[in-house]
Symmetry: D2
Subunit: 351 residues, 4 copies
């Protein structure tokens, strides 16, 4: 069976590199275009990236000879999907152009996230949000990822939200430097230091979870109505966002019920055996001092969300800690999983 | 005028080293005894500490020739004060022995903190708690410091508590490795990592602030009645605990009022011009990304508490960030300031 | 075909954990005993290691139910090989006891390294050193690894030594914290710091390379006769020793010859297709700023030695940089490779 | 007595900030101009630097209200000295313009360093090199600092060079991130990593020491003739370059002689009691594991060079470790000390 031809927009950036890595030998998809800005166009990806490849494994051999092209539909014919790791300054326009050209856009950028007929799709959390795609007027459709911190948080909350409802949610993040891309955070700012601020992060963190956990009504996504507060911090960790959470539920829950819900959580990607789906989306660890980025980051090949330290909260109801890999589960890996879901659900057949 | 003779218990440990440093050339106090465990007794402090001194300045010259003694009252005659940086495993007994021998004990250990006639003294926050000392039956009295994280937090909260009252308080800490002493945290556990757990820390963090901000009644300290929740984390920072705080106040406050209270806060140590008192106990910074350990740790020679990022909290009322130096303001420096307060208030004259 | 039964001595330590990981599903070997000190004996490895497992992947499932035994031959019958990650304080005696009991001992400890009929075996460098085993009087034999820094260095030097000879060798190491085991280096000593000293390291670094590159004569290993100088430093890197090298060769070499020798280097493990052998033992990278631990550590699954920056040295002849994974290529992985070599060469058949 | 009016070129950069800090309340100098690039001109330094000030103390109050000007002689009348922390891309031209306008230029940039009538001045090493200034044709003169790594190295070598002569010198550096300025090294490149390469550093490191230790002949500086090899590495340390050194001397020396020379070393700045001169330019520590950036960086207020681990080298004669503060002793502090030397020696009187 022929594979679906896909392109990577922003292929030289941090998220783009992860796409190049994760799509190597993919059973459904074949990378047919690597797109980047004008100054990279025309160069072989392998040469271009020699000193810019920041993942601790070599550049996949399929990508090395590929010649970088411009992120324009007419320059990249034949694609059914583009994965976008574009900078927000240009993502809006470029992604819209691809959607108009009939290409399915799977985006990591924030530009279209809060549009009410664009899903912030998380394959384990809200596959039913795909229903709003019909309301998008373009021939191709745009699907977004949430912010990298929020992805793991909403997966951990999903079974609690379904069973008990959420009244209010407070999150405190300790986010890895890779979340800021490359060159990103200067070492003089973060070595042996923490920075209790990440530009633009808290507004996203305080609005995206409600949309992710919302429901579809009249072709639009209606956000869930819980209150949220976020404290976002940068810490000297390479990969892996650790989030402390306090939550007030609508119904009474016991510790055993919550842990059991997490441990038994299975969703659409697991039921469909999607290639990138981790066998267990949520792993609960009982040790006092877990999860930790050092030890738990690669659960489920970076697609598992690791939870620990569930205990009662004296103000809200419960508190716990959530860790997820910000550039895999929180970005490129989640996008690939979303594309796999679309593939299996038949959203790509029309081509 | 003759100086008051003081001893340092646990003089070889992390907090003990800070005492040795901070008491050099002190206008009121003269270090007359350095006490440590049996295997150090009889050795010159300078020789003993050659490879164990972990502060980035040399061992003070007064301390180098001093011979280490055992932490027993009969071995250290003539002291009016002992500063204790003892391990909790022995602090209870040793400190009690000194109090019974008529020595004023200024302790960093947790052992006596929650006894209702032992103040958790913070010179800027609750000097009136000294009134309970009379209720201690020993000839000498025991005065404690709060936990190193709580010290900065309660100073930042003090003016808000007095003006508006506190209904509930949620804190998320990112604590430095020096808080665990030496050898303390293994580098394999914390380099490029965060650990969302510190043994025994959260129970202290959830009970000491209420006692610090409590009032004296019938010779006992009655804790304030607000609810508290703490998430305590270890991060790869050398010195300086950064705490994100969300707080619900009893009365309505404006942003301007709060900042003005912080900026104008002056307390007993400032009024008495105590030698270790910072000119401003609280420094509010307006930049988005402050406070940070790297940049703000040594405000007021490590005795200033730096606050930033005041903004509305969608769940509780306000959120902000507090930074303080955990081994200076949060431990040895606060203890020295407490001793200076006792000196100026006449608590040492009896000798 | 039945697998060879092996035991791991010091199974709870840093190197021991790597053995447990690397021997999972091994084609030749089956772990039949996990040995550790008295206080661990009788406990299931999985329970015991819950909070002590420091590798970023879970404890292999085969090991979890295994009950830890004492490192004594009579407690661990039926073993043909023991892999030793024991502390030097006890390794000498325990390893000798196993050799006397007829077990092949593959050791990471320094105790027997400099005995002239005990090879410091490096499968790519000196497989012919196995000839001295006959001179060991015990029924089982003892084979050692070199120091973790020296392993990668000697592999990189091997083709140059064979072709051009070595006159003198100067090495400057920047060694990872995992080389000191756990708890090992206190974080207060190394976070944001470098320590230009590692206890006992330089004497080993200045004598083992000559023995590794030596030859067998009359049943003994005669060390090569070049002069060596080592500067050993600890740096805040988790895994991966980076070594800057300056070398004077006996014969004139060109840059092209040297790089070509590295790139084409193949040795016994590659010829025998040993399971742990990397396809290329030496990888030469042409970028100015490589090798780096972050990017190059897992070449050949941690068994590749990555070399870069070859340039003329104004004092000696050439200088370059060598990186190897200290707990894989420099310890457990090298030991497993040595055992595979013994297996294929027929040294284990006697049993 | 009126102070000498000085300007700081590149006042917003890393070295520029150190100048602003070190020149606060200087007994000889008064900062009369802060110069920076066009986009900063006309703004108050305090406002401009609010989020760019990277030193862990506040912006000096004298500098806050100063309005930034353009680095052009006509815009900054009345200056006798300019301290230049300019980027090499513009330093050459701007510094020459100031020299032509009659201003003494004290530069940290590399542009004029290797000109034979421009001294690489190090006040403790080669004050006699000032004799070549007469050979500069401009009315003002240009004086440079060496590279930040070389400064500490040449001070440590100076007494050995004078007493025994140097035959060959091998250095291996572990350099702090602040040496690359701000934003400088991306955190993704250095956190938990080392990079065995610093662009352009080794050629400077292999030629400047010989010039620093050279002699004046016919109005020119003639470099010393020893051979040098440098391996330069970047490590995750904030401030402080640590250098391992192996050296071959021309005459035989004993360990005691060398240590005694270091401990007794006094030079022109000490004899003249220059304000920035450390009491001891070289501090030798006997502990095995020193010097370390964490513990030894601020010896002599950052102007002391700390040396340790002297031992015999099996290839060259001696090896040891040198630490110096790269932005103080290795840059701004050394420049200020040079200016103080000029002042005391009468080089500024002409104005």
């Amino acid at each position: 069976m022929e594979k679906v031809k896909v392109g990577i927009l922003g292929a030289t950036g941090s998220v783009g590199q992860r796409f190049v890595e994760l799509l190597e030998n993919h059973p459904f998809f074949e990378v047919a275009a690597l797109c980047a800005s004008e100054k990279s166009v025309g160069k072989a990806y392998g040469d271009l990236m020699k000193s810019r490849w920041k993942i601790s494994s070599d550049i996949p051999s399929y990508a090395k000879p590929m010649v970088v092209t411009s992120p324009e539909p007419k320059e990249t014919p034949g694609l059914q999907i583009v994965f976008s790791g574009l900078d927000a300054s240009i993502a809006g326009e470029v992604e819209t152009a691809y959607a108009e050209a009939g290409v399915m856009v799977i985006s990591n950028s924030k530009n279209h996230r809060m549009v009410d007929n664009v899903p912030i799709l998380s394959a384990e959390v809200n596959p039913e949000h795909l229903a709003v795609l019909d309301a998008q007027l373009t021939k191709g459709k745009i699907i977004t990822n949430s912010n990298c911190t929020i992805m793991g948080v909403t997966i951990a909350l999903k079974p609690l939200f379904d069973q008990f409802g959420i009244e209010s949610l407070m999150i405190f993040s300790m986010q890895a430097i890779s979340g800021a891309g490359y060159p990103g955070v200067p070492s003089m700012d973060i070595l042996g230091n923490v920075v209790p601020f990440i530009g633009g992060e808290e507004p996203k963190a305080e609005s995206e979870p409600q949309k992710c956990l919302g429901h579809v009504q009249d072709g639009k996504i209606v956000s869930a109505d819980f209150k949220m507060s976020a404290h976002c911090n940068r810490v000297p960790v390479f990969d892996g966002h650790t989030v402390c959470i306090s939550v007030k539920l609508k119904k009474k829950a016991s510790k055993e019920e919550i842990i059991s819900l997490w441990r038994n959580f299975q969703a659409e990607p697991q039921k469909l055996s999607l290639p990138s789906a981790p066998p267990k989306p949520i792993i609960y660890r009982e040790e006092d001092d877990r999860p930790q980025p050092r030890l738990d980051l690669y659960e489920g090949k970076g697609m598992g969300v690791v939870v620990g330290r569930l205990r009662e909260d004296p103000i809200l109801d419960w508190k716990f800690v959530v860790l997820s890999h910000n550039t895999v589960r929180g970005a490129a890996g989640a996008a690939v999983l979303n594309a796999e879901l679309l593939y299996k659900k038949g959203y790509l057949r029309s081509k």
